[in-house]
Symmetry: C2
Subunit: 116 residues, 2 copies
DNA sequence: GAAGATGCGCAACCAAAGGTTGCCTGAACG
DNA sequence: CGTTCAGGCAACCTTTGGTTGCGCATCTTC
């Protein structure tokens, strides 16, 4: 029962800069490579590349407006990414619980009378 | 309110191969670079490097046994990683809900009383 | 409308990370 | 012993994230 996710989507949100970009885009409702780069520790070009990655997996989409390209989060796709995140978290959490339960059972059967 | 996580921990589980490795280690209760590589699409050396990364962030630890090095998941640290995953998922989920609620409110206020 | 400012895309280049092959050491076992 | 097999090391390649530099297009302002 392995945890299977869309590696492309996951790796898109796996980058810390891209996570912060998504955060900023969600907070502000949209932004350009330039405006984003002003609030990030990387150059505009780096931001542009990240936007390209996010665009390719459909997490954001651009709207040309004059000489600007305004990017906004695609909520549907973003929701899918969040769902995957949650499902992996849940699956691993469940697995941890199971392991802990088993470990306790073993310990109980081995030392029915623990001291201290 | 931005989503802040331990980037080291996150990027450790951000790699798809490392996620599958953790999966395998959890399922089997432990393993060596060699045994893991047999079930992964990469070479033993690549697996060894990944194990090094996971070891450095404390997600796994090795137990020398003869000429083997048996790796196992550190459950406490792994639990922390899972918690971070979940918290990011939850935060983004909440944000999505809020946006959707606002969007609905706007639409409602616009529909009964259209423009100007 | 021309001139400067501003936003963006492209190209070259650099460094780090993931991956590979090859080799060598050292424990296990006949 | 000699063989075998797991693991560590080193060299090298490719991808990816990052930078600088430049050119083009679009605003803006006189």
């Amino acid at each position: 029962m392995s945890v299977i996710v869309d590696d492309e989507l996951w790796s898109a949100v796996g980058d810390p800069i891209r996570r912060r970009m998504l955060d900023l885009l969600l907070t502000d409702g949209g932004g350009t490579a330039t405006t984003l780069s002003e609030r990030l520790p990387v150059t505009r070009q780096a931001v542009a590349k990240h936007l390209g990655v996010l665009d390719r997996v459909g997490l954001v989409h651009a709207t040309p407006s004059g000489r600007e390209r305004i990017y906004a989060v695609d909520e549907a796709q973003f929701a899918r990414a969040v769902a995957q995140l949650s499902s992996v978290g849940a699956a691993w959490d469940a697995r941890l619980r199971r392991i802990k339960r088993i470990a306790e059972a073993i310990q109980q059967s081995r030392e029915p009378r623990p001291e201290t």
